[in-house]
């Protein structure tokens, strides 16, 4: 055993665990001086630094770009071809990474981390991305013509900047998928497995990070129903010059036990000719709106803030992205009708993220703030306070809170109603009509429908943020719409942040629907046990080593005496496969924690002890659970189909990184008889395994 944090490592030694914090601080001092993390003079709300300079830029003077749709390629385009087990072909390692030789794929080797179900669900589509520093986008594909993208010409190179009047971002400051903006969108459908190959083309020198972020990465498909080897486990990270093959089978949960013959017409996916094909599983588990983001241990906040976040639209027979097909199953939500499925014309992804920049207009982050980092500028799809042109008809907006620590409460500037149809990745049992959405926690997704037919051509209406922060621990208060519009908040991120310009009538009648029944909840009964997780401060470290994190935050499990710092080598829970359990998530403090449970959706049964406190918009399936100050949430959850090592954590990613995260395991389904599962220890020269540091007595 050794004392954590006392052996700051040099750059050419594998940088993992809490020690990396010291490495980066050191690197930051070298490359950027103290200014990169020290509170700036005349610190102000909300960043703790000086306000971001605007270089004369005004709000609502740039169009909002649609997401950049990633190409769906034949699997045969991948070289080398993907394989069930990690490709351990050796390559020379850069001296900055310790030299010698190491595998070309960073996925841990052997059968334990082989793609589960690879033979049953062979990849049919390849999506290949490169994570790298900022550069101009010369292949932007918004998926719609310019008139549906506020006039943006995709053939014109798209520089990496937050506004045409702001500086182009330094490639060490902004790291994104493919190195470009807008953020990336993956299109997928049930029954069509995707192989997502991610190349790490970040700098080999860990000190070349622009003052924040780390060049080791692991990408979480939030909240995919995939094997753990494809979940972006925080300790399964990979290094520059390596790739990682993520196998997303895109199956309906329960496929091993429900509708196994694929006979149910609602358990289906759209084909390319207006019809459907059926798949196994429970159609009540159909998902729609995911996102994917970096999940590097202790560095998720910094890496996501740098730009490693995209979205993933999943299409099904129920939610096929074609509003005109009337087959008795298709819900015909606003989308379009030119293509058989995945029409984006009136189905718009919105990623909200607050940012801050330094005196040079370069992205800025305070790595020493463990309460939560806030920016003072609201970006939508990485564009500062943009406008978006719409027609007089219904639109679906898939709203993702892609911030580090900020909550948003959204209203329209004229108090008009919005119809919430989904919460997180899942369509609700029934639509919920609201004039003010609930506070949207970090990583939560609300899909809403806005009917712009109530406006006249040339009208404008704005999306408004009502939630004020003074720090990153929690929302300070919600303002009234009148207050928010009046600019009375001390937080500059309150107020109008997205302008809708109603520019024309639709070229054809709006035939989209918002049915009164969407997707009823699956039955979860017969729960076998309950577990309690208390999200708390004052955490202690009971383990040491490279898998252990450090920080004031932690999780107390099942009434244990101590609140523990994160350690991805510790197993805190291990439900049995096919078990159904009740989990109570509690918040002891006066701050807020949006808690994410990986892999399986849950249904909230109680909020603060009663079912009547569960609002209509939380009565569907969820994967992020806002606890609110002093709040508790009890949810029912079942574990099926896949196995391995997963996580649960606060998605205020600063809390997560410092160190409010735990690991839970699912008993392998016969792929391995090893129990408990070992912990991967990645290095550029290869991944080794060690036994778990600790297994909590209530885990099994």
């Amino acid at each position: 055993m050794h004392s954590r944090g006392t052996n700051a490592r040099t750059a050419n030694v594998r940088p993992i665990g809490s020690n990396l914090i010291f490495l980066v601080i050191g690197a930051t001092v070298v490359t950027s001086g103290l200014g990169a993390f020290a509170p700036r003079a005349y610190a102000v709300i909300p960043t703790g630094g000086v306000p971001s300079p605007m270089f004369g830029v005004q709000k609502f003077t740039q169009p909002m770009p649609r997401f950049d749709v990633l190409p769906r390629n034949p699997v045969a385009t991948l070289n080398p071809p993907p394989a069930e087990q990690s490709n351990q072909t050796q390559q020379a390692c850069d001296p900055a990474l310790g030299g010698g030789f190491g595998p070309i794929e960073g996925r841990p080797p052997g059968s334990l981390w082989a793609h589960q179900g690879f033979a049953d669900f062979p990849p049919q589509v390849a999506v290949e991305i490169s994570t790298e520093g900022a550069k101009s986008n010369v292949s932007y594909n918004p998926g719609v013509p310019p008139q549906l993208n506020s006039g943006i010409d995709p053939t014109v190179p798209f520089p990496a900047r937050f506004h045409p009047g702001l500086p182009v971002q330094d490639p060490l400051k902004v790291w994104t998928f493919n190195g470009t903006i807008p953020p990336k969108l993956v299109i997928g459908r049930y029954g069509e497995p995707i192989l997502m190959r991610e190349h790490n083309n970040l700098p080999v020198d860990a000190t070349q990070n622009g003052g924040f972020g780390i060049h080791t990465i692991t990408t979480h498909e939030h909240n995919g129903h995939h094997g753990a080897e494809n979940d972006g486990f925080t300790g399964a990270f990979f290094f520059p010059n390596q790739f990682y093959d993520y196998h997303w089978p895109i199956v309906l949960a329960g496929f091993r036990s429900i509708n196994t013959t694929a006979a149910d017409p609602k358990a289906a996916a759209p084909d390319d000719a207006g019809g459907t094909y059926r798949v196994a599983g429970d159609w009540h588990e159909t998902m729609s709106t995911h996102w994917f983001h970096d999940h590097m241990f202790s560095f998720t906040s910094q890496n996501v803030y740098k730009g490693m976040a995209g979205m993933f639209n999943i299409y099904s027979a129920l939610d096929r992205g074609n509003e005109a097909i009337n087959d008795g199953v298709n819900l015909r939500l606003p989308s379009g009708s030119a293509k058989s499925w995945a029409n984006l014309d009136y189905d718009v992804n919105l990623m909200l993220a607050d940012k801050a920049w330094d005196a040079n207009g370069q992205l800025w982050f305070n790595i020493l703030n463990t309460d939560g980092f806030l920016g003072d500028r609201v970006t939508v799809n990485l564009a500062d306070n943009p406008y978006f042109e719409v027609e007089r008809r219904k639109y679906r907006f898939r709203i993702l809170n892609g911030a580090v620590s900020r909550f948003f409460k959204i209203a329209l500037s004229d108090h008009s109603p919005m119809i919430q149809i989904a919460n997180d990745g899942n369509l609700l049992p029934k639509p919920v009509t609201l004039t003010e959405l609930d506070e949207l926690g970090i990583a939560e997704r609300y899909d809403i429908v806005i009917d712009f037919s109530r406006y006249q051509v040339n009208d404008k209406v704005w999306m408004v943020n009502l939630t004020e922060h003074i720090d990153g621990r929690k929302p300070n208060k919600d303002l009234t719409l009148a207050q928010a519009l009046a600019g009375s908040a001390i937080d500059p991120a309150v107020g109008m942040f997205l302008e809708f310009r109603i520019v024309r009538d639709p070229p054809s009648p709006d035939v989209s629907l918002v049915p009164t029944t969407l997707i009823p909840n699956p039955v979860i009964g017969g729960v076998s046990r309950r577990r309690d997780f208390l999200f708390n401060s004052g955490a202690v470290a009971t383990t040491t080593g490279s898998t252990a994190g450090a920080g004031p935050w932690g999780i107390q499990t099942d009434g244990a005496a101590q609140t523990l710092d994160a350690d991805y080598g510790r197993i805190s829970a291990a439900p049995n496969t096919n078990a159904r359990e009740l989990w109570t998530l509690s918040n002891k403090g006066g701050w807020d924690h949006p808690v994410h449970i990986h892999f399986e959706e849950g249904q909230i049964q109680l909020r603060n002890g009663t079912s009547t406190n569960v609002p209509a918009w939380e009565k569907g399936r969820k994967d992020v659970y806002r606890l609110r100050p002093a709040g508790t949430v009890t949810l029912a959850i079942q574990f099926r189909d896949w196995s391995g090592t997963f996580m649960e954590h606060c998605h205020n990613t600063v809390h997560e990184d410092n160190a409010m995260l735990l690991r839970w395991d699912l008993d392998p389904l016969g792929y391995s008889k090893l129990n408990p599962l070992p912990t991967p220890i990645p290095t550029p020269q290869g991944v080794t395994f060690v036994p778990p540091d600790e297994i909590l007595p209530t885990a099994y």
């Binding site: 108090h415 939630t467 919600d478 609002p615």
Partner: protein
Amino acid sequence: MNADIFRLFGLAVALLLAVPAARAQEADSTFKAHVSGTLVGAPETVSCSGPVKLSVTVQHDTAGPTNAIVTVDTQDLKCRGLRTKTPYINSGHAILTRHLLPTDVTETSIAVYPDTSDGHLNARSALLSLKLSYDVANGALRHASVTLSNTRRTRSPDHKL
């Protein structure tokens, strides 16, 4: 067979839910206020009357202002169109983060819409004006009054292109 299984599942869930939560909030209080009001405008005036339940959860925060999470439960509010006699339903809940002060005057809004198959597509907004009295020392809600009315026109002066 299936019905029996579901009954057993339900029993198991009920038993598990009956176990007290691991811990309680620092303070939690409720107050039921009667509200009545009308929404004027096309297609018809809507009259609303009934109870609004307010729940307050307080957590004292040594490092900042004490927050109150105010849940406004309007599920039992009854609304009816005066011309068509159509019943109207509403959003059901509004949840607000507020500072805990002896007196808090604030507003929120809910959607009100006909209880018909496509009613949710024809919603109107109603303003709820809340006046809340807290016992700050005990973190408890002592009194509340709520009024319902049309939302005010909040369009920006430059709402035209």
